[in-house]
Structure formats: C-alpha cells, structure tokens
C-alpha cells in the first residue's frame, strides 16, 4: 500500500516579515542611544596678528588695568592682591568710572592655564571688551 506524502503545492511560501519591525526598532533605539550631539563650548578670543603689531597704539597709563597672575596662581590687580571672585566686581566698578579701560592680563609662565581661563572668565563677566593677554616677563 502506497503511502501518500503531502506536498506543498501552493507555490513559494511567503517569508514571515512580522518581526522585521522589531529588528528595525532595535537598530533605531541603538542609534538613538549612541547619538551624541556634542557641542564644544569655549571662550572666544582674537589674538593680535603679527602684522598689526607694527602700528603700536599707545594707551595712557591711567586707562590700563594690570591683572597679574604670579607663579603661585595668586592674582593681583595693579599690585593689590585680590581674590578670584572679586575680580569681576572690581573691574566692573573701574569700567564704570573709566569706559576707556583696557585690561591687560599678565600670566606667569609657571602659572596654571586653568587660572588664566578663570580670570578671563571674570573679565568677560565684567563686560570688558578691550583686553590683551600677555606673558609675565621674568
């Protein structure tokens, strides 16, 4: 007696695509998680170009505020020792008294860069537009 074997004669069976959205969802979630919109934040500053240094502008001594950071990261404003947090307020007062004020930030070569940036931050807080960065001659 012959055994009858059932054959799929309906043609090709369709692939099951119901789970494809699950897979795609997984990929999507992966990319959403690893995507970082990293934004750099900085203190912009424009250096004096070499060519500009030839035409030197003379500034009156009375219009200059000398901020000095020494080798031990101590700050002084026109030879008066000062705390970092009071720099902005002091400069603001001076700027009000004299709008032509130019701030010169002199940093000792051995001072920390972080300290220089902290003082620069204070100067920006005081809204001083005219300023220069210098290295302290030793």
């Amino acid at each position: 007696m012959a055994v009858k074997i059932k054959r799929a004669t309906k043609g090709l069976e369709e692939m099951n695509i119901a789970s494809i959205s699950d897979i795609v969802f997984l990929l999507l979630i992966y990319f959403m998680v690893v995507t970082v919109f990293q934004q750099d934040i900085g203190l912009p500053f424009v250096l004096p170009a070499e060519s500009e240094q030839q035409d030197v502008i003379k500034i009156k001594e009375s219009n200059v505020a000398n901020l000095v950071i020494d080798a031990n990261n101590f700050i002084s404003l026109d030879d008066t020792p000062m705390r970092l947090l009071s720099v902005a307020r002091e400069l603001e007062l001076r700027l009000k008294a004299n709008p032509k004020l130019v701030v010169i930030l002199k940093t000792h070569p051995d001072a920390d860069y972080g300290m220089m940036v902290a003082v620069l931050d204070e100067i920006r807080k005081a809204n001083c537009k005219k300023m220069a960065l210098k290295v302290l001659e030793v």
């Binding site: 999507l28 934004q39 750099d40 934040i41 900085g42 203190l43 500053f45 424009v46 940036v117």
Partner: protein
Amino acid sequence: MKFERNLKGQSSIPTASMGDIVFLLLIFFMVTTVFKTEDGLPVNLPRAETGQELKRDLIANIYVDRRGRISINDKLVSAAQVGPLMRKKYFENPLTIVSFQTDDATRYKVMDDIMEELKKANAVRVSFNIKHVSRK
C-alpha cells in the same frame, strides 16, 4: 431600514506601515549621527561660566595635556610645528577657529608658545575650550 452592524468585535489598527515609519526614523538617525573622529589627549578642561557654543565646522582642535604635550589631528607635535599646520587650515578657511582643548593644570608657558606661533601663522581666532558651569 436595517443597518448592518459590525458585531464581530473590535477591528485592529493596521500595523503594516509601522515598519516604514521606523525605517524612516532609522535612516534619519543614521544620517545625522556623526562619530567623533579625533581622539586627542585626555584633558580636564577648566570650568567657566561665560562660554559660547562654537560652530563645529569652523573648529580646528589643539589638544594640550598637563604634561605640555601638544596633539593636532592625533599626532604629537612640538610648539614650533603648530604654526605651519594651522597656517594650512587657516588658508583653507580664513574663518577657522583654533580651539584649545587644554588641561587646566598646564603651565601657561606652553600656551604662550603656541599662541606666539599662531600669531605668526595669522591664525588669530582662538577659543579656550571650557566645561560650562553655572555658579549660583
């Protein structure tokens, strides 16, 4: 007049187009994802409050770590090499902003040397990169 009513229970929401929507989202995220291309040096950026966001496409990074090593495009360079390298970038785009990724414990001497080089190369637009904090 008799109205036919669908009494077979709730009809289900068609989910056939779900895959299309998800694919669109996937493609969007794949296209907008930018992976960091530069490793640089491990640095601990100084903290400040008055920082501004920088335009990504204008930036040329210089990494300086606390030992005074300088890295540009993942290559260690000396301060004297910074000028020529930046001159090239500046030539390609005069609006280039040189962005210092410098450790806060770096000696100022190193930074001053680099800045002198940048002045010579006419790359005068710089930015001291910081970690934004708000004191209050």
